[in-house]
């Protein structure tokens, strides 16, 4: 996500750290570099300029004079500014007031509205709301069909209408929702250009007819300098209530997040991070700011771990580890728990100190686990508990059963042995951290 930006800022901050005193000369050199980093990250050049100005202003002001450690002070200033631009708190969807609530999705073509509609529906369904998707995109070929498939996938009803007027479709969907006790409807509108007046007018009409609780501006996280123009125009036309950034599971630096937030002042509510229907994350501005500054997104990682790791199992495992009884069965359990936390490549990115450059060329796909799982699955219960008994002929059988090679099995056994050894050497304090509890 913001990983590349983080990497570069880290280097710069390190340079400042190494110097005893903050002077106009050394800070402006560094800030020039920060500006470059921001521009490379697709932060709009005006936003970048402003950001640099305010950091400089504050760095050279009284805050630094007071400070004992100028390096830390600058990090704090950059962090504060970044967090400030992106908002302070995470703002949930506003689902107050009388139902049915209308959530309207808007944005350019291809920003990911329909996929987001499905994810939002799944999310709201999870918190026990009765959701209906509304196919209001009659512009793009097969968009209605796409929403129907998405609706099927997440188990939510989809409202379609043969009417050729999206305003009327949304209106009758709302009426239908009122009659049938549906409490949330999500309007999937057609993608449109912010300079297309008739179509922007249509959005405005949908808005005034359905009175949405939330109007979300869905923006591609890879957007460049133009993000400010699009966001500003959509804001002027329909005064949206929040922002969702999509495709954030790629390697885009996501400078658009800063730009859009800054020109609209609206909160970023979600990040869309994959093609699966649960790949939706709340936006945490503070975490994002720490991430930019190289502190890693530890909070998200911890939260994910807490959600998925079975506490009881973890405690049991810890006891086993202390007594050095770690078996393949336990190993298998661990893999399952890590898998539950989400795609591995995303988890890796959250670990502080792990730079994206270190991850380059490495595949952290969940499928890297499947070979290991297959091998373990092909072992007998006895073999899993006592790997020592796995001799040549057993290895051959396991390889055959799991569709792998004997070399694969050997490799896993070797790794497992090393792991057992490592655990023996590990002190109890470190062990706790290793298990995420």
């Amino acid at each position: 996500m913001f990983q590349d930006l983080t990497d570069k800022l880290e280097v710069i901050v390190r340079t400042i750290r190494g110097q005893g005193k903050v002077t106009e000369a050394n800070i402006s050199g560094s800030l020039k570099e920060v500006r470059r980093v921001l521009l490379e990250a697709d932060v709009n050049y005006k936003v970048a300029k402003h950001f640099i100005e305010s950091v400089k202003e504050r760095a050279l002001g009284r805050e630094v004079i007071k400070s004992i450690t100028p390096g830390q002070q600058i990090i704090k200033i950059i962090y504060d500014e970044l967090a400030g631009i992106m908002g302070k708190v995470d703002v949930p969807l506003d689902l107050s007031g009388s139902t049915p609530h209308v959530i309207m999705l808007t944005g350019l073509q291809g920003s990911g509205k329909t996929t987001l509609a499905g994810k939002l529906a799944a999310h709201l369904k999870n918190i026990n709301r009765t959701v209906m998707l509304v196919a209001a995109d009659i512009q793009r070929p097969a968009a209605v069909r796409q929403l129907q498939v998405v609706g099927e996938t997440v188990g939510v009803s989809v409202f379609t209408d043969s009417d050729s007027n999206p305003v009327k479709i949304c209106q009758s969907a709302l009426n239908h929702a009122k009659r049938s006790g549906i409490d949330t409807i999500i309007l999937d509108t057609a993608g449109r250009l912010h300079i297309d007046e008739p179509l922007m007018n249509e959005l405005l009409e949908i808005k005034s007819n359905t009175n949405p609780r939330e109007i979300l501006f869905v923006a591609d996280g890879m957007t460049g300098q133009d993000a400010v123009n699009t966001a500003k125009d959509f804001l002027q036309w329909i005064d949206f209530t929040g922002i969702v950034l999509t495709k954030m599971d790629g390697d885009a630096r996501g400078g658009a997040a800063l730009s859009i937030r800054m020109v609209t002042g609206k909160p970023i509510k979600y990040l869309s991070v994959g093609e699966k229907m649960d790949a939706l994350e709340k936006f945490h501005p503070d975490r994002m700011a720490s991430r930019i500054l190289g502190m890693g997104d530890v909070l998200t990682l911890v939260e994910k771990a807490q959600q998925t790791v079975d506490q009881e199992k973890a405690a049991k495992l810890e006891r086993k580890l202390r007594r050095q009884e770690f078996t393949f069965e336990d190993f298998y359990d661990q893999i399952q728990q890590i898998k539950n936390m989400g795609p591995l490549d995303q988890l890796m990115k959250m670990i502080p100190g792990l730079k994206s450059s270190m991850l380059k060329g490495m595949s952290f796909d969940d499928r890297s686990f499947s070979k290991i799982e297959a091998i373990i699955n092909s072992m007998t219960a006895e073999e899993r508990r006592r790997p020592g008994i796995i001799n040549g002929s057993r290895r051959k059988r396991i390889a055959g059963g799991s569709g792998t090679t004997v070399q694969d099995v050997n490799q896993l056994l070797k790794q497992f042995q090393m792991m057992q050894k490592m655990m023996k050497n590990m002190n109890k304090g470190k062990l706790k951290g290793f298990l995420f509890n």
């Binding site: 050049y45 129907q148 498939v149 460049g224 123009n229 885009a252 630096r253």
Partner: protein, 309 residues
């Protein structure tokens, strides 16, 4: 902090930037060329998504040229910059595979379309099919995006509009097998141009990039020389990540040319300059709307003029 956002909103973003107006202002303010003029020009490039690296490179070269020629007045500087940009774009336009798009002697010509999600692959294919149809070519489409919901339906509607046939399979089918069947059908039906649609994928997803390689491998089983042209569809609103996209797709499967879409918005698509500079992949078509004929062969001169408007 709210106040800071408000402050900025109030002051900085009142008017949309007009590049021509800005250049005129700069030249008025500094009739003699100085660093401010260069800085402003660089900012104009950056704002068009050209990227810091390529922008500074262009400006450095410009400086050298201006010094060499002993030019002192700002008035003509913009023409020199335009010339430099055009030169950069045109330096790669003659790549053999990309030229094949317009003059080809193979049958069927197999074009594979790739790109990240939401860039406009399927729409571009509809228009591309129409483009070849107008040239009296027999066109067949291959719905190898079996992943995204209703993708093949979308392609089918475009094929109807363009008046060409499409080969499709069940959702979730192996995309490589769809591509294989399509090429087989194309050969049997004496088709001139086969266009293969693939699912949108982020260039960072290793396994999805492997899938593209597999499609290519499978096509080669029927025709060793296919796919003859692989086109990357790039959204003009994309910023510097566009370069990463082009890099990764080029590395994984080889990209012969680019279709730059959504140029009917306000984004300039300047990232293609970096792509030209670093990777040498030329733009071959631009997308400028949602109608069948809204796909045009790329024209460097027009693009440069638009970049500075």
């Amino acid at each position: 902090m709210k106040s800071m956002v408000g402050r900025l909103n109030f002051g900085l973003f009142k008017t949309r930037n007009n590049l021509v107006g800005k250049i005129v202002d700069v030249i008025k303010a500094s009739p003699d060329i100085d660093d401010d003029v260069y800085d402003e020009l660089e900012e104009i490039l950056i704002e068009a998504d050209v990227g810091v690296g390529t922008s500074s490179k262009l400006i450095e070269n410009l400086k050298k040229k201006i010094d060499e020629l002993g030019i002192r007045k700002s008035e003509n500087i913009i023409n020199f910059l335009k010339y430099a940009v055009k030169g950069l774009i045109e330096s790669n336009s003659s790549r053999e595979a990309a030229v094949r798009l317009f003059e080809f002697d193979v049958k069927p010509l197999v074009i594979m379309i790739v790109g990240v999600n939401g860039t406009g692959k399927t729409t571009s294919i509809g228009k591309l099919a129409y483009h070849y149809k107008k040239m009296n070519k027999k066109v067949l489409l291959s719905a190898a995006d079996t992943f995204r919901a209703a993708a093949s339906e979308q392609l089918e509607i475009w094929s109807d509009r363009a008046g060409v046939d499409v080969v499709r399979n069940q959702p979730g089918a192996d995309p490589a097998s769809v591509a294989y069947d399509s090429l087989q059908a194309a050969i049997k039906r004496d088709i001139d141009v086969l266009i293969v649609d693939t699912a949108g994928r982020l260039h960072t997803k290793v396994n999805l990039m492997e899938e593209l390689k597999k499609i290519k491998r499978v096509l080669k089983k029927l025709d060793e020389t296919s796919p003859h042209v692989t086109l990357l569809v790039l959204d003009a609103t994309t910023g510097q990540n566009g370069l990463n996209q082009a890099k990764q797709f080029t590395q994984s499967i080889g990209v012969d040319g680019i279709i730059l879409t959504k140029l009917d918005g306000t984004a300039k698509g300047g990232v293609i300059l970096s792509i030209n500079d670093e990777l040498g992949v030329p733009v071959k078509f631009i997308g400028i709307g949602e109608q069948l004929d809204d796909l045009q062969p790329f024209d460097a001169q027009e693009f440069v003029e638009a970049l500075f408007q």
